[in-house]
């Protein structure tokens, strides 16, 4: 079992993750990898209360997630791993070497970002980080919910898949 989905989503824990992906994947644990959340008891409690009773949540900063990844991967239950930004996922991929695919689930509008999909906005620097992920052998696709088509990175970056 282990981690079935590695997702980048700036909303972290929310309906699409817990219900949209969590239900069909029968996810029983979620690893929230975020340096800020991992350092705040209040933030951890906020997200813990958003998790359904059948799901367990683990909090880690990127360093901790690299250290504990083998344990997550060996978990007999299906699980999800979420980062809030591309940089955190890139650091995780570099430290773990065992992540074969990454899902872009939600990177929303901010100054300097351009729209690629309805739910994906990227700066040129972030586009470069995603290219680097693919160059490292990681399949990168955008897919907000399981019923949607997984859009390959090249198509995402063209910005014509609306």
């Amino acid at each position: 079992m282990g981690i079935h989905l590695y997702r980048i989503d700036d909303r972290l824990v929310h309906g699409q993750v817990v219900v949209g992906w969590g239900q069909p994947l029968n996810a029983r644990f979620l690893v929230l990898v975020d340096d800020l959340v991992a350092s705040s008891d209040w933030e951890k409690e906020l997200y813990r209360m958003a998790i359904p009773p059948e799901m367990e949540i683990y909090f880690a900063d990127v360093g901790g997630a690299i250290r504990d990844h083998a344990r997550y991967a060996a978990d007999p239950r299906p699980g999800l791993l979420i980062t809030g930004d591309i940089a955190s996922m890139s650091r995780l991929v570099k430290g773990v070497k065992a992540i074969g695919s990454v899902n872009l689930g939600g990177i929303h509008h901010r100054a300097g970002r351009a729209e690629k999909l309805r739910y994906i906005f990227l700066t040129p620097g972030e586009e470069g980080q995603l290219h680097d992920l693919e160059a490292a052998g990681v399949e990168v696709t955008a897919q907000d919910v399981p019923s949607a088509r997984a859009v390959p990175l090249a198509e995402v970056l063209e910005g014509k898949s609306q």
């Binding site: 700036d10 309906g15 219900v19 906020l46 209360m49 958003a50 929303h108 509008h109 309805r118």
Partner: protein, 134 residues
């Protein structure tokens, strides 16, 4: 007499926010059933970041004076944003998992402050979920 308590004010008494057209649909149903949709502010979170949602909620609270927020999913971004607001302002009440029965009870209960009406409405909403058949 305090019009917040007796409901004499024309101001909305709560904000309803959720995924897709959820909030608009629920409030539209309230309007169709009892004509009191103007007691509720509809907020759609489509395409919004958590920061956007929190900002929009804070703006509506400041604009309308509403002290109650109804959201759909406990795990939803709107609920998380609302919880941040409740942390900063304990005078605001959040009810997640809202349904039509909850909102109807809330808009009619003008004999108590909105925050108190919200608590009673949540109980009515829970009781409205019934299963019929084997």
């Amino acid at each position: 007499m305090n019009d917040e308590v007796v409901g004499g004010s024309d101001k909305p008494r709560a904000i309803v926010v959720g995924h897709g057209e959820f909030a608009g649909g629920l409030v539209s149903a309230v309007g169709q059933i009892c004509g009191l949709a103007d007691k509720l502010v509809v907020l759609s979170m489509m395409g919004m970041t958590p920061e956007d949602i929190e900002g929009a909620l804070r703006e509506q609270i400041a604009l309308t004076g509403a002290r109650v927020i109804f959201t759909d999913l406990p795990a939803g971004s709107a609920t998380l944003a609302a919880r941040r607001i409740v942390r900063d302002d304990p005078g605001v009440v959040l009810v997640s998992g809202v349904n039509l029965a909850t909102l109807l009870d809330f808009v009619f209960n003008t004999s108590v402050p909105p925050t108190e009406a919200a608590r009673a409405a949540a109980e009515r909403g829970k009781a409205s979920l019934i299963v019929v058949g084997r």
